[in-house]
């Protein structure tokens, strides 16, 4: 999986994916991403950027922590 490296703020900033849902019955879905040098700042950025709607749950995960099984154009068995 390609992970963008950002160096524009504090050293090696990372991309964090933001997930949220509006009601408990919904699954979490990806609503966007933020770039931050650590998880604390990523949480603050995610909340500030995406809190316009009333989410019952919001979570973030570092993009390079996602385990990709296959990517667009690849076969699941490869």
């Amino acid at each position: 999986m390609k992970t963008h490296q950002y160096n524009r703020v504090q050293g090696q900033a990372q991309e964090y994916e933001v997930f949220a849902r509006k009601v408990r019955l919904e699954p979490l879905r990806q609503i966007g991403s933020v770039v931050a040098p650590d998880a604390d700042l990523a949480a603050a950025y995610a909340r500030a950027t995406y809190d316009e709607e009333r989410w019952v749950e919001m979570a973030i995960v570092r993009r390079d922590q996602l385990l990709q099984l296959w990517a667009p154009g690849e076969e699941p068995t490869e």
Binding site: V34, V35, A36, D38, D40, A44, R47, A48, T49
Partner: protein, 247 residues
Amino acid sequence: MSLGELILSLADNKQLLGLRYAEWATRAPSLEADIAAAGMGLDDLGHCRVLYGCLEPLGDDPRGGLARDQDPAGYLSLPYFDQPFPSWSHFVAANAVLDTAFSALIQACVEGNVEVLQTRLRKMLMEERYHFLHGRSWLRSGVEQEPLDEAWRQALAWFGPPDGEVAALHRDGALSMGPADLFKRLEERLEVQPPRVAIDWQGWDPRRRREGKGGGIDERTFNMLRGLEEKRFMPASPSAGAGRTDA
């Protein structure tokens, strides 16, 4: 100083902090930091409105005795907010130290025995968690020492003397923490060693909770608070726009 005056000081400081945050909404080091500055500014302006709304239930509204329309010193805010933040380090020091100091007092109110504060201020602590994470993260990345030392100094001054009104409100149960507990709480939250600070309590202004008697918010901000800045963009008279024709 009554509990109402302390809450007014908290409200005025939050209003000024919110305005100063907002001034950095297009100047922060990254787009995310811009959005966070705008978001935290909105939060603090919202908090100040809630706090102003608590004044009447607490008793006489202390704003009545202050000439807030004529005198910038009628606002009970700290010197740190008298001028726009001149650097990002000033922003971070205010975010990390002063915003967290205000949150410590809010927590003391929520844990105290005054019902209107227990109920209305609780939600602020949830929102302030993200201000704290933002401030602490930027603080750890390193900021200039001078604004940081000044923020610590003004936080200590704002909590007040060991035998002052905040201590008395703590003894009465209105606040769960006194001045020393509040400063310790701030120190623990930020996980840093504060600078050695000695306040001359003889020269301390008990109404504005700041050192020295002079100073006040800058003229442009004072005009904005009174709605005068916005008036510059209004038609000079009700008929000023009458001749306009829209296609």
